[in-house]
């Protein structure tokens, strides 16, 4: 689910950047540093704006300046049970991996409807029910999140396509 979230981040600036446009640089660096980052259990999708750039503080020792910046960002936090659309990345006999934006998902064979089976002879290998559903890399698919694991800098989830309206998205 997407949220507008107020966050705070500490930006350090190299002394060579000190000058009139320092705040711009701070903002630019903030965007560069934080956009697209996984913050444990959510992703920062986009930074809307900064609303509070503190005074810079020189860090003793290396001369870098430290700014505490408050900013507003669009974040995405996946939840258990959330339904997401993703793109299949790879398929193997145990299931397939797909990617919902920055989130990697695995859908195990046991999380698929009965009639879907692995077809190793197809090229590329695919999951199919011999009807309308063919799951191969780059297939667009709708998946329900079962659970996720969060680590620093990475998130990782497993999902299911066992359910109404889940599965391949027909273009």
């Amino acid at each position: 689910m997407f949220f507008l979230h107020n966050l705070e981040h500490t930006v350090t600036l190299h002394p060579s950047y000190f000058g009139r446009n320092m705040h711009e640089l701070v903002t630019a660096k903030l965007v560069k540093d934080m956009e697209g980052v996984c913050m444990g259990d959510y992703f920062i999708i986009a930074i809307m704006d900064t609303f509070d750039v503190s005074e810079g503080r020189i860090l003793p020792g290396n001369g870098l300046a430290e700014f505490t910046v408050g900013y507003r960002a669009v974040v995405w936090r996946p939840f258990k049970g959330e339904v997401v659309d993703c793109v299949v990345v790879s398929v193997n006999p145990h299931g397939f991996f797909c990617q919902a934006g920055p989130l990697r998902l695995f859908v195990s064979t046991s999380m698929m409807p009965e009639e879907i089976h692995y077809d190793a002879n197809a090229s590329p290998p695919q999951f199919t029910n011999n009807a309308d559903m063919v799951i191969e890399p780059n297939t667009h698919i709708r998946v329900k999140l079962i659970n996720m694991r969060t680590e620093v800098g990475e998130m990782w989830a497993i999902g299911t396509i066992n359910g109404d309206f889940l599965g391949c998205l027909q273009a």
């Binding site: 190299h14 193997n92 195990s108 046991s110």
Partner: protein, 1079 residues
């Protein structure tokens, strides 16, 4: 004939119930007890005075629900059985009260004397809340049984009914009113209907009363009495119990319907390996004589010996079912005997029919006779006692070859199916096979380790591992030893009365687990259950860690599938699915888990031998999977790894295009499978990449650095920008001039027709490489070249052409040439060159050199003309100088340079001039010549910013401009010349700054010293004061100080001390702005 019922224990779940002791709880008792309820009800009313005691009772009651499940004392269990029905009964009570008469009728046969006694007693005990009937039911149990057996009278009920009225009025008239209402209602119904209701309500109780037709009868009532047949135990041959029983059964069938029917009622045995009652059969008959008759002539049974009459109270014990561990083929056991094999793991192949022996296979411990002699006789000649522990030979599969070698006579067998007999022992496929009494096997708590089991598996014929996981599972399940439940585990009861209950363990004591029920109707209650019928419960998606004895130990992953107690999880590390028993799992809070063995972790780079490195792609419990640089995966032990190569963060390689690649860059293979991945290691020319798109080798693959293209460099690094801060973004000068914005302005366009036309060129690349030709026509990028060799005109990209002098064939730069052309003014300067003498001759060449300076035209802007000169040779250089000088003077040039100024190009040119000076310095003549002009004003341009500063203003801009070329200053050794440094300052381009923050200083350092030394005189002579100062600096021993463009500095700043110069990188910068100002 119930002979078989005691062995085998077919119905596991009923075992417990079958045992008489706790068996008094039975569903029917509820019905029975409710019959008696009306009696207890009034009593409660009649004991108003005791209500203050209720609290105590309630406490007791309160304690009970907690114990209501699980195994607990018998008394409670009865209570429990009723507990469920309490509500129901309560509802009935009211109705019952006014139906006393019917009740009485129904219970006519109950014994009232006894009831009276009970009641009195009960009045004392009973202080229960009138709304609850918990205790009542307890007592009623006994009563029911008593009452049912005896006739009864009804007075009790009558008094009882009276009491209702009194006590009810006393303190419960609400209840009473309700009763009235109901009575009224019921009275309004017609009799038939009432009868119907009553029948419905009580009718079902009638059957419970009789003995004969009841479906289920309280077990206590089934206990034998004196009237019942007796049971005799008769000796028989041990191990033949079952056989005897079957024989008897046959005999019964045979004689059925004949005159001499077998007069016994049943016969059974309680043999079995662990039994203490083996060697007997038990015959149920009315008289002992019947037993003798029945057993007459039956083999293996000895009725003539003492026959034991079983006491009545012991009878139930005889039939108690103890669940005997059943051995299934495939199960794992441990051997107790033979002694040599004590403790060894064995697999059951077969179990004999009587359940006494099992055929097992195990790994032999043979020494093939090497110790045979010793074992037969000890040193002192005595026979060694068998079973004395000697050194035990190690477990090894039977080897026919060895056996034949050592003791051929003892060996016989069939090589076809690989079964042998050696020294009386049987061997099949290398395993020893033996029939062993089950007593001599350890069946419980076998806990086979994976290593042991693997030995068996790998011994199979085809060499494939065909582990019978199911048998293993069964064996493991039998042993609860290694199942540990910890508080917090979510547990499911899958066996026994509480089956289906799910809860969270709150306490574990011994093998009793206390559960807080979390689901279902018992939710919120705490129950105690033995850990036997428990298993851990997980949900899909749970993050779990493998504990316990599985070979997946310490793997961490997410649950994707659950089938009974087998849980499939997707490991975090390798994204593969593994299946383990739920008992081997725990909820995991941590991440990562396995991935390290000793000091080696997944994805580490390790040195396998002197020439081989590899990346760890798999970590098992004992081995590591390593993908070596050739792309092969090897299984290695940690000990086989020479060492671990630390990750070199700074490692750099060049990709196919020569672009720098570093760790974490994303690259794609060129050709091949075009795999794309992130660089995790760079080792020499090999790079190890990691990708998420495949699980193979944990997504790691190896390739050569030269076979990849950069897709995305980390952090958007495009080329080899230094790792320092991006100075472009902070340079206010660049910001201010957005036109100059992101990068360098393109070099000024040259005017007029393309200069390459009519030039003589050679082709540098392609199929025409090396051929000479003349450019006939040209566009911006291509030339049409008429080849000298063939009469052919080809189109070649300009960059594939090298321009040559028509006559000498020397490489030239046409762009500059054109520029020179304009330089007629420079001719004046040429004069300077002229002063040099030789130079004059060259001046034209010089002009050529000059062209270069505009070097921007040519590819390498960085190169100052001086450079090119270098290539030409010393002499050629000098002219270049001249040329430079000339240029600067040229107003055109000036204008241009200024242009270039924005782009660093122009700058370079002027510098070139400067450099030339340096060069000149060598040849005294030169230097003097060169310099002299400089002071005169000619030099301004080329040499010194100072000049620019001076009245030369007009030119200066050009200078300043020219100055900026950072490349020039940085790259050109010649470029040290002060001019260069100065220019660097002016230069807005950050590159210059970066390259050499104090360009002058670093670069200059060497030059001045060297030069100055040879031509001090010369210098001083020609140069103005300013110059001299500069030279002085040079001569000064500190070359570095002098280095910084003595000439320039001297000239402009008038700061004689070169040190100041060198140190102050800014000064030049300062000068730069000034130039700008001058504009």
């Amino acid at each position: 004939m119930a002979s078989n019922m005691n062995y085998g224990g077919d119905s596991e779940s009923e075992d417990d119930n079958f045992n008489p002791a706790p068996a008094e709880a039975s569903d029917d008792e509820n019905d029975n007890s409710s019959v008696v309820q009306p009696k207890s009800e009034p009593e409660q009313h009649s004991s108003p005075g005791r209500h203050h005691d209720d609290d105590d009772d309630e406490e007791e009651d309160g304690a009970r629900p907690g114990q209501s499940a699980g195994k607990r004392p018998v008394a409670y269990q009865d209570d429990d059985g009723d507990g469920d029905e309490e509500d129901e009964e309560e509802h009935d009570e009211d109705a019952e009260n006014d139906d006393d008469e019917e009740e009485e009728e129904e219970e006519e046969d109950e014994d009232d004397d006894d009831v009276q006694g009970h009641r009195r007693k009960r009045r004392k005990e009973r202080r229960a809340n009138p709304f609850l009937d918990i205790e009542a039911t307890v007592d009623d149990e006994d009563e029911v049984e008593d009452e049912e057996k005896e006739d009864d009278e009804i007075e009790g009920f009558i008094t009882h009914a009276d009491e209702i009225g009194e006590s009810g009025q006393l303190h419960d008239d609400r209840r009473h009113r309700e009763l009235d209402r109901r009575r009224e209602m019921e009275a309004s119904m017609d009799a038939e209907k009432q009868a119907e209701i009553l029948r419905e309500r009580y009718g079902k109780r009638a059957p419970a009363r009789g003995y004969g037709d009841s479906v289920i009868v309280p077990k206590r009532l089934l206990l034998p009495s004196v009237e019942d047949p007796s049971i005799w135990a008769v000796r028989c041959k041990e191990g033949k119990e079952r056989e005897v029983v079957f024989n008897l059964m046959r005999r019964v069938e045979e004689r059925m319907g004949t005159s001499n029917e077998v007069p016994i009622i049943s016969v059974f045995e309680r043999g079995g390996p662990e039994s203490t009652m083996k060697g007997y059969i038990y015959v149920e008959a009315m008289r002992m004589n019947d037993v003798l008759m029945a057993l007459d002539g039956v083999l293996n049974v000895y009725p003539r010996t003492k026959i034991i009459l079983i006491e009545i109270k012991e009878m139930p014990e005889l039939l108690r079912v103890t669940k005997t561990p059943t051995l299934e083929p495939g199960a794992w056991v441990r051997l107790r005997r033979p002694f040599k094999h004590a403790g060894d793991l064995a697999q059951v192949l077969d179990v004999t029919e009587n359940g006494l022996e099992a055929r097992v296979k195990f790994i032999p411990r043979l020494d093939y006779g090497t110790r045979d002699d010793m074992s037969s006789l000890t040193a002192d000649g005595k026979r060694k006692r068998p079973g004395v522990p000697g050194p035990r030979p190690p477990q090894r599969l039977f080897s026919e070859v060895e056996a034949r070698k050592k003791n051929p006579r003892a060996l016989q067998g069939n090589p076809l199916n690989n079964s042998w007999t050696y020294n009386g022992d049987e061997f099949e496929n290398g395993f020893q096979v033996k029939d062993i009494k089950i007593q001599q096997l350890e069946v419980k708590d076998v806990n086979p380790t994976l290593e042991e089991v693997t030995k068996f598996a790998s011994g199979s014929e085809d060499g494939t591992e065909n582990l019978d996981l199911k048998a293993l599972a069964a064996t493991l399940k039998d042993s609860n030893m290694n199942i540990t439940y910890e508080p917090g585990d979510v547990i499911e009861v899958y066996e026994g009365e509480q089956r289906g209950v799910i809860g969270k363990a709150t306490n574990v004591q011994g093998d009793i687990v206390t559960l807080q029920v979390t689901e279902g109707i018992l939710k919120g209650q705490t129950i105690e259950v033995p850990n036997k019928g428990l298993r851990k419960r997980f949900k899909l998606g749970d993050h779990v860690k493998v504990i316990g004895g599985s070979r997946f130990r310490d793997e961490v992953g997410m649950v994707v599938k659950i089938v009974e107690d087998r849980v499939t999880l997707l490991t975090d590390q390798t994204n593969t699915e593994i299946t383990v028993f739920s008992k081997d799992l725990r909820e995991a809070d941590d991440i990562g888990g396995q991935g390290a063995l000793g000091q080696y972790a997944l994805l580490d780079l390790v040195q396998l031998d002197a020439t081989t490195v590899g990346c760890i792609v798999k970590v098992d419990r004992e081995t590591l999977g390593v993908l070596d640089q050739n792309g092969d995966v090897k299984q290695v032990l940690p000990s086989q790894i020479a060492n671990k190569l630390p990750k070199r963060k700074t490692a750099v390689a060049a990709d196919r295009n020569g672009a720098e690649i570093r760790l974490d860059d994303v690259v794609r293979e060129y050709g091949g499978q075009q795999r794309q991945g992130k660089i995790i290691h760079i080792h020499r020319s090999f790079i190890f990449l990691h990708t998420h798109t495949t699980n193979e080798n944990a997504g790691v693959f190896v390739t050569r650095a030269s076979q990849v293209n950069t897709i995305a460099a980390k952090g958007g690094r495009i080329t080899n920008a230094s790792t320092g801060p991006d100075l472009a973004s902070m340079n206010p000068a660049l910001k201010r001039n957005p036109a100059a914005g992101g990068g360098n302005i393109a070099p000024p366009k040259s005017f007029g027709p393309d200069r390459s036309i009519n030039q003589t060129v050679t082709v540098k690349r392609g199929m025409y490489k090396g051929l000479l030709g003349i450019v006939k026509d040209a566009t911006d990028s291509h030339c049409r070249v008429e080849l000298h060799t063939k009469n052919k005109i080809i189109t070649v990209p300009k960059e594939h052409l090298a321009f040559r002098d028509k006559i000498t064939g020397r490489p030239i730069d046409i762009n500059s040439r054109g520029g020179r052309g304009g330089f007629s003014g420079s001719g004046g300067r040429g004069g300077f060159g002229g002063s040099g003498g030789d130079f004059g001759g060259r001046t034209p060449m010089g002009a050529g050199g000059g062209e270069r300076t505009p070097a921007w035209g040519s590819k390498n802007t960085a190169r100052t003309p001086a450079w090119s000169r270098g290539g030409d040779g010393g002499s050629s250089r000098t002219p270049a100088w001249g040329a430079d000088g000339s240029r600067t003077s040229n107003p055109y040039e000036g204008s241009r340079t200024s242009y270039g100024g924005a782009t660093s190009y122009g700058g370079a040119t002027s510098y070139g001039g400067a450099t030339s000076y340096g060069g000149g310095s060598r040849t005294p003549a030169w230097s003097s010549g060169a310099k002299t002009p400089a002071p005169e004003g000619f030099g301004h341009g080329s040499k010194t910013p100072a000049y620019g500063g001076d009245s030369w203003g007009s030119k200066t801009p050009a200078y300043g401009v020219s100055a900026p070329t950072p490349g020039a200053s940085g790259n050109d050794s010649w470029g040290y010349t002060p001019g260069a440094s100065g220019s660097a300052y002016d230069a807005p381009t950050p590159g210059a700054h970066l390259g050499a923050p104090t360009p002058g200083a670093a670069l200059n350092a060497p030059t001045p010293g060297a030069y100055s030394a040879p031509t001090p005189g010369a210098l001083s002579a020609p140069t103005p004061g300013a110059w001299q100062g500069g030279w002085g600096a040079d001569t000064a021993p500190t070359p570095a100080a002098g280095a910084p463009t003595p000439a320039a500095s001297g000239g402009y700043y008038s700061a004689p001390t070169p040190g100041a110069y060198g140190g102050a990188a800014e000064t030049p910068g300062a000068s730069g702005p000034r130039y700008a100002d001058d504009d």
